[in-house]
């Protein structure tokens, strides 16, 4: 396997030093500074990126070398041909941020969460663990997004933006059912 990692579609050489976190690799080596360093210890979610398309992970707790041959999407990889990702547009429309520092992590996390909902991954607030599908609800969103802190407290806007994006993907029926 070549000693590379794919970042937003581009294969790049991994660092020689195994101590380099995926977060520092993105920010300091590749100058992709969209991904933010909040706590650097897995407590805030600001460094969330997507692994292999839809798995949300914390880049601060990831050693870059451990992800050899894998694909990472950072916030810079969400927009497409100059068009913001629909979730990014929803964050703007619903004031899903104030200072914006946590936003790249919120965006990647919400996209990962959406994939988990689609697969039927249960959460702690899911009533029936045996159920193959999860009903979308505000309670589910708040529980599933709890790994992303917002010191400005823009949570209501974030929940609204994530909900709108979910409706955009799945139609209004399911979201109404949950409200």
């Amino acid at each position: 396997m070549p000693n590379t990692i794919t970042i937003n579609g581009n294969a790049v050489a991994l660092p020689d030093d195994p101590r380099v976190s995926l977060l520092d690799f993105l920010r300091e080596h590749l100058h992709l500074t969209g991904t933010k360093k909040g706590c650097d210890q897995g407590a805030c979610g600001a460094c969330t990126v997507l692994l292999d398309g839809e798995q949300r992970i914390l880049s601060c707790l990831a050693l870059a070398v451990q992800y050899q041959g894998r694909a990472i999407t950072s916030v810079e990889g969400l927009a497409h041909e100059g068009e913001l990702h629909p979730l990014q547009q929803s964050f703007i429309e619903h004031d899903g941020f104030q200072c914006g520092y946590c936003t790249p992590g919120q965006l990647c996390s919400a996209l990962g969460m959406e994939a988990e909902l689609r697969r039927g991954v249960p959460s702690y607030v899911t009533q029936d663990m045996a159920s193959e599908s999860v009903a979308f609800s505000e309670e589910e969103v708040r529980e599933r997004m709890s790994g992303n802190l917002c010191r400005c407290g823009a949570y209501n806007g974030i929940v609204a933006a994530v909900t709108e994006h979910h409706v955009h993907l799945h139609g209004a029926a399911q979201a109404r059912e949950a409200s």
């Binding site: 914390l58 990831a62 050693l63 991954v121 702690y124 663990m129 709890s146």
Partner: protein
């Protein structure tokens, strides 16, 4: 972070060969080890990446499971048959950490995570027998609201932070190990140790030994089980107290029960006293309360964590009441 070399294991035997090098540590998802290395609490000379090892969840015809050590926490909680047969396990995993961390963390890494006692982390400012044997424990007289009330010692009052492990203790899981000299199996409840005079020894793992899988034996009434976690905030926080329980009732009588506690001890606390008391007794709140009191009878509160004793008792009763109501 101190310098180290990085090696990727091809299989379990390759891993134990690499892991035989002094100063080696196995790397799963890295969610705890990388953090401890950054804090220089952990200073391995070599990391052996075992995250590429077994990711399979094998369901056997008898209702048991064999779960590969590298299976991600999310994958185990997501597995449809696991959710049907052992909802307590899926709910315990879902209650732990955050979505991002559950996607990274492996089953074996979850088991081997270290305590979050702040004195254990503070290697420049605090004394800790677990980090530096013999130097004392600053938690005993310090900030210890989160610490142990059962099975602690004068050397260490730390708690085991895992939720998943509480369910594994209740489910009589078995740990599969691979050493350089061969493989062996250890009952999950014997895998972690109480601190006694050697809190630096946390498990029965021998040097270089690798966790390869967890076996979950079939449990006929496993479907009537749950996990409840009490914490300072609604999500993304460690347990003050947690309860994993499965209950079987016939004609209003408890025919069988499994229960374990989290957040109260140096290891997941299997409530054998309670289980023995309840078998054959009416499934009533009175009996649940008596058994919960008996289980906590030997609890030793510290200055600021005595609240955990009644909290554990009440949580046990609430969980058992809930399981009894669902069944009847």
């Amino acid at each position: 972070m101190n310098p180290f070399t990085f090696a990727r294991a091809q299989d379990a035997l390759d891993a134990v060969r690499l892991g035989a090098v002094p100063g080696s540590r196995y790397l799963g998802g890295g969610t705890n080890l990388v953090d401890l290395m950054r804090e220089t609490v952990e200073r391995p000379a070599q990391l052996v990446d075992v995250s590429g090892l077994s990711h399979t969840i094998e369901e056997r015809p008898d209702g048991s499971f064999l779960v590969g050590a590298a299976v991600k926490n999310t994958a185990l909680a997501e597995h449809q048959a696991v959710r049907v047969r052992f909802p307590m396990l899926a709910r315990a995993i879902a209650s732990g950490a955050s979505g991002q961390i559950r996607n990274m963390a492996s089953v074996a890494g979850n088991m081997l995570q270290r305590t979050r006692c702040s004195y254990f982390y503070d290697h420049e400012g605090a004394h800790c027998n677990k980090r530096n044997p013999g130097e004392g424990c600053d938690a005993i007289e310090g900030v210890h609201r989160m610490h142990a009330v059962l099975g602690a010692s004068s050397a260490c009052i730390a708690t085991h932070p895992s939720d998943m492990c509480v369910a594994l203790a209740a489910l009589d899981a078995v740990v599969h190990l691979q050493g350089i000299d061969g493989a062996r199996q250890v009952p999950f409840t014997d895998f972690h140790l109480l601190p006694e005079d050697h809190p630096e020894r946390e498990t029965v793992l021998r040097p270089g030994e690798l966790v390869t899988a967890i076996a979950l034996p079939a449990l006929a009434f496993g479907a009537n089980s749950t996990y409840r976690k009490v914490r300072d905030r609604a999500s993304y926080a460690f347990a003050l107290v947690s309860v994993a329980a499965a209950l079987e009732i016939k004609d209003g009588v408890v025919t069988d029960v499994r229960l374990a506690l989290g957040g109260v001890a140096h290891k997941p606390w299997r409530a054998l006293t309670l289980e023995q008391m309840l078998r054959g007794q009416p499934a009533s709140a009175t009996h649940f309360e008596a058994a919960a009191r008996a289980e906590m009878a030997d609890a030793q509160p510290l200055r600021d964590n005595a609240f955990k004793i009644p909290l554990a008792q009440r949580t046990i009763v609430a969980v058992l009441d809930g399981l009894a109501t669902v069944r009847s």
